[in-house]
């Protein structure tokens, strides 16, 4: 009766909705205020973007999906034919400027050379250009960290929101699981799993993501409990929203800032972790260039003749992690509701 007098839920929610600006203008405005408040954060964001572009994440993923046949039960396999593969930026650069970026050409006559105009950072023991290998390594670093973060955040958000929402035995049960994952020393588990089962790009992404997932749920659970006390959850209950709708439409948007923050902070950590595992020999197998592996295989072997081999990959790791961290810091200052009022 009372609900009917008030009108539909859309009307209630729409009472004080401000006039919405176009999405692009809003995005531009946000970026502008971010740049004004956090110039260093923006610079680091640009560096992160640069590594994404260098890593050529988009073509890699697009080509992967364009080529993998999809098996459907009962219908047989479908082979998606999405035309010619998307060109890599690296390939394009190599064609346009051969002196700048001769990555694909292995030159056996130019081994272990110092930097020159042809090879900006020198070459390794079998005549491959170090700069080009570093750029390829960016692909591995970016793909592993982003993929693993996506998986772990999905798992962490699901566990955190569910245990915060239902409480009681669901919470207790899920928390025993999280406890178990916290009791496993991460590096040891990764070494055991990746050492026994074969390691590869997708194995690395999945193992890092799944093992790291439950631990991420701690803070999300806390935030969920905090959100659950708000009156709008009660209002949603009164109107008769289902549990799923409350979780997805009301709680998730309110904990999303926290999820994004956790994600940016674990990105840097995961780049370090991937490098560590590759350094120990549990990352990608050798022809694949990865920064950690370049340090351990070539860097240590030829350190006396070409010290650059042990310097540049580490610098690349440091720069990427540094930018991820500072970008995350700036993002936290802007997004974190607890810090927002203090300025």
């Amino acid at each position: 009766m009372a609900v009917q007098e008030l009108g539909g839920i859309a009307e209630i929610e729409g009472w004080e909705a401000p006039v919405q600006k176009a999405a692009i203008i809003r995005l531009f405005g946000t970026l502008k205020s971010f740049a004004r408040k956090k110039p260093l954060g923006l610079v680091c964001g640009v560096i992160v973007l640069f590594f994404f572009v260098i890593g050529d994440v988009v073509p890699e993923t697009a080509n992967k999906f364009a080529k993998t046949p999809i098996a459907l039960p009962g219908l047989g396999t479908i082979k998606p034919d999405l035309g010619t593969p998307v060109p890599y930026l690296a390939d394009q650069l190599a064609e346009v400027s051969p002196f700048l970026y001769p990555y694909a050409k292995q030159d056996l006559r130019a081994r272990l050379q110092g930097s020159s105009s042809k090879h900006l950072l020198g070459t390794d023991a079998i005549g491959r250009d170090i700069l080009s290998r570093l750029m390829y390594g960016a692909r591995v670093a970016v793909m592993v960290s982003c993929g693993a973060v996506f998986i772990s955040m999905t798992i962490g958000a699901t566990i955190g929101i569910m245990s915060g929402f239902y409480g009681s035995w669901v919470d207790k049960f899920l928390y025993r699981i999280v406890d178990v994952f916290q009791a496993l020393p991460p590096l040891v588990v990764f070494i055991v799993i990746l050492g026994i089962f074969e390691s590869g790009l997708w194995q690395l992404v999945i193992v890092l993501g799944v093992i790291g997932g439950p631990i991420q749920s701690r803070t999300i659970r806390g935030q969920t409990i905090y959100v659950m006390a708000s009156p709008f959850i009660e209002a949603a209950r009164v109107v008769g929203c289902s549990d799923r709708r409350i979780m997805i439409r009301y709680i998730l948007p309110n904990v999303f800032a926290l999820i994004v923050l956790n994600a940016t902070f674990s990105l840097g950590f995961l780049v370090l972790l991937e490098a560590t595992l590759s350094f120990l020999g549990y990352g990608l197998p050798p022809p694949f260039p990865s920064w950690g592996q370049m340090l351990s295989l070539e860097g240590r072997q030829y350190m006396r003749t070409q010290p650059g081999l042990s310097i540049y990959p580490g610098l690349a790791i440091g720069l990427l992690v540094f930018s991820f961290n500072l970008f995350g810091d700036a993002l936290r200052d802007v997004l974190d509701p607890r810090l927002r009022g203090s300025r």
């Binding site: 020393p185 026994i196 580490g314 440091g318």
Partner: protein, 326 residues
Amino acid sequence: MQKYVAQRLLLTIPTIVMVTILIFLLLRVFLPASVIDLIIGEYGRNDPELRAALEKQLGLSGQLYNQYFDWIGVSWFWGGPTGLLQGNLGESLHSGRPVLGELKRRMPVSFELGLWGQFWAVVIPVPLGVFAALRQDKFADYGLRSVAIMLAAVPGFWIAVLVITFGSIWFNWAPPINFRTLTEDPIAHLKIMFLPALIIGLQPSGGLIRLVRTQMLEVLRQDYIRTAHAKGLSQTTVLYKHALRNALIPIVTVIGIGLPQIVAGTVIFEQIFIIPGMGRYLVDAVTNLDYPVIEGLTFIFAVLLMVSVLLVDISYAFLDPRIRFN
């Protein structure tokens, strides 16, 4: 207080049980290459009798739950073999030596390395952080903060590689290959331990410098510091007796969180600096697919991690009464 400790201890039991189940599933059920096949391959003949005998000897025959009970040592109570509960971690497939005996030699080495690392993680950041706080917004402060941010981004193993590279180029120095224990040759031992420990300590230092600095700044603004100054106490007394002590409380917390890291954090440095600790043992076992060793070591690592987390939590409950009643 007792209630809290008892509760935490009771909660560890199901976690340990779950961890053993996970390790068991991972290493016995999902294992891609069967261990038996590997050993049979070394014998050079595929003989069902030999296979059955080997399975029985390695505890791989019978039902899965029976294997699990054997490994845990529950079946010992009705006359089975000894297991984890009786302190039997199994024997290495390759050397035939019991895992526990090997651990007795290796565990002190890893622990010592980790503790030295933790020592540097306190000795480096605390004075630097205090110094930065006292010179707030001056050149030294900016410099130290930049160094701190960079330290947090640079991987420790890269520093180790650089040290070895330039040590060998400039000073013709390389990490010693022969390991000496503390009792055999104390000076050689400390020489071996010094660099890896320093690098292990450098890793968390970046974050800790920033933390000490902010804590110190916050404490220095408190009323009791002004009172201490007003009473006419000297600058050093105010700093070390009043300010630093109060600033250190949350820092102890953070160092406590880092403590469990020493359990597994030394793996990579043991590998680089050729130190025969638990980490090297694990890496060797994984390379050889020496599954009893992997099982035993993962279990020990997990238990150590749990115990250190438990100790840290209980010490908080001592320090901070709010946790006890939660």
